[in-house]
C-alpha cells in the first residue's frame, strides 16, 4: 500500500490523494501517457478499462469503456486541458452514452495530477473536483460492486 495520504474535503467537494511509487518521474508519466498501460490500472479490478482513443495533447480527447463482470459496459471520456511533461497534467473526466458519445446530462469531474521525484521515488498527487453527486454515485456504483466481490472472496479464503 503506497497511498500516503488522502484528504476528502466535504465542504469544497474535492478529494486529494497522495501516493508514492518506487520509480522515477518518467516511468510514472508513461502510466498516464501510454493507453496500454493506462488501461491496466484505471478501471477497478473487476471493471477493466479499454482505451479506444487517447490523444495525449492539450485539447486532445480520450474515450474508453470499462467492462463489468457480467459483460456490461460503462463508457467514459477525458479531455486534456494541460500537459506539462513530466510533472503535471489536467483533464476533464466524464461519462459517455451507449454510442460512445460524451453524455451531456452527466456532469464532469476535473482532475489534476502532479508528480514530484525525490530520492528515486515519485510522489503523485491527484486532486478530483466534483461538480455533482450523481456523477460520484456512478463511479461509486462500480467501485462498490468491486468492494463486495473482494469482501466475498476474503470470506471464501477463510472457509
Amino acid at each position: 500500500m503506497t497511498v500516503i495520504s488522502s484528504n476528502p474535503d466535504r465542504e469544497t467537494l474535492t478529494m486529494t490523494i497522495v501516493c508514492e511509487f518506487d520509480a522515477g518521474l518518467e516511468r510514472i508519466w508513461k502510466l498516464w501517457e501510454d493507453p496500454r498501460q493506462l488501461e491496466k490500472w484505471w478501471g477497478p479490478p473487476t471493471w477493466p478499462a479499454t482505451f479506444e482513443r487517447h490523444d495525449f495533447e492539450v485539447g486532445g480527447e480520450s474515450s474508453y469503456y470499462m467492462t463489468g463482470p457480467e459483460g456490461e459496459r460503462a463508457g467514459g471520456w477525458w479531455r486534456m486541458t494541460a500537459i506539462e511533461e513530466p510533472s503535471r497534467l489536467e483533464f476533464e473526466d466524464g461519462f459517455s452514452d451507449e454510442n460512445g458519445q460524451p453524455s451531456a446530462e452527466m456532469p464532469t469531474m476535473r482532475m489534476t495530477a502532479t508528480f514530484d521525484e525525490a530520492d528515486g521515488k515519485t510522489r503523485m498527487t491527484v486532486i478530483t473536483r466534483f461538480a455533482a453527486l450523481d456523477h460520484l454515485e456512478q463511479v461509486l456504483e462500480m467501485g462498490m460492486e468491486e468492494g463486495m466481490k473482494s469482501a466475498l472472496s476474503q470470506i471464501d479464503a477463510l472457509l
Binding site: M1, E137, L140
Partner: protein
C-alpha cells in the same frame, strides 16, 4: 442504487449549495454553534438580504436548520448532511487505493522483467 438515501435532486441542491465560497464560509461559522442571521450578516461585507439568501440555499440543501427565537432567526449547521457527503468521498477514495495497487503491480512487473 441509493447511497445513504441521497437522491439526485437532493444531491444537486447539496452540491450547488457548497459550490459558493460565502456559503462554505457560513457553514464553517454555524457548524458548531447557532448564530442569528443578523450576527452572520455583520461578519460579511455583503447585505443582510444577500446573507439571508445564502442561508435559504443552505437550508434547502438541508445543510443548516433555522429556528425562530423571539425576533431573531437562528441558524445551525446540520452535521448529518455533511457527514453523508464525507461518506461518499471516502468511498471514492477506495477506488484510488485500487488504482494505486494496480500501479504498484505494474511497476513490480517492470522490475521482474529487468531482473530476468
Amino acid at each position: 442504487m441509493v447511497v445513504d438515501e441521497i437522491d439526485d435532486s437532493e444531491a444537486d441542491l447539496l452540491f450547488h449549495a457548497l459550490s459558493d465560497r460565502t456559503r462554505r464560509d457560513i457553514m464553517g461559522k454555524v457548524g458548531d454553534r447557532e448564530q442569528s442571521i443578523s450576527s452572520l450578516a455583520r461578519q460579511y461585507t455583503v447585505s443582510f438580504a444577500a446573507i439571508q439568501k445564502h442561508v435559504a440555499v443552505l437550508e434547502r440543501a438541508s445543510l443548516v436548520t433555522k429556528r425562530v427565537k423571539g425576533r431573531e432567526k437562528l441558524v445551525c449547521g446540520n452535521v448529518e448532511t455533511l457527514r453523508r457527503a464525507s461518506l461518499l468521498l471516502a468511498r471514492y477514495e477506495r477506488i484510488w487505493s485500487h488504482r494505486d495497487d494496480a500501479i504498484t503491480r505494474i511497476l513490480n512487473e517492470d522490475d521482474e522483467r529487468t531482473e530476468s
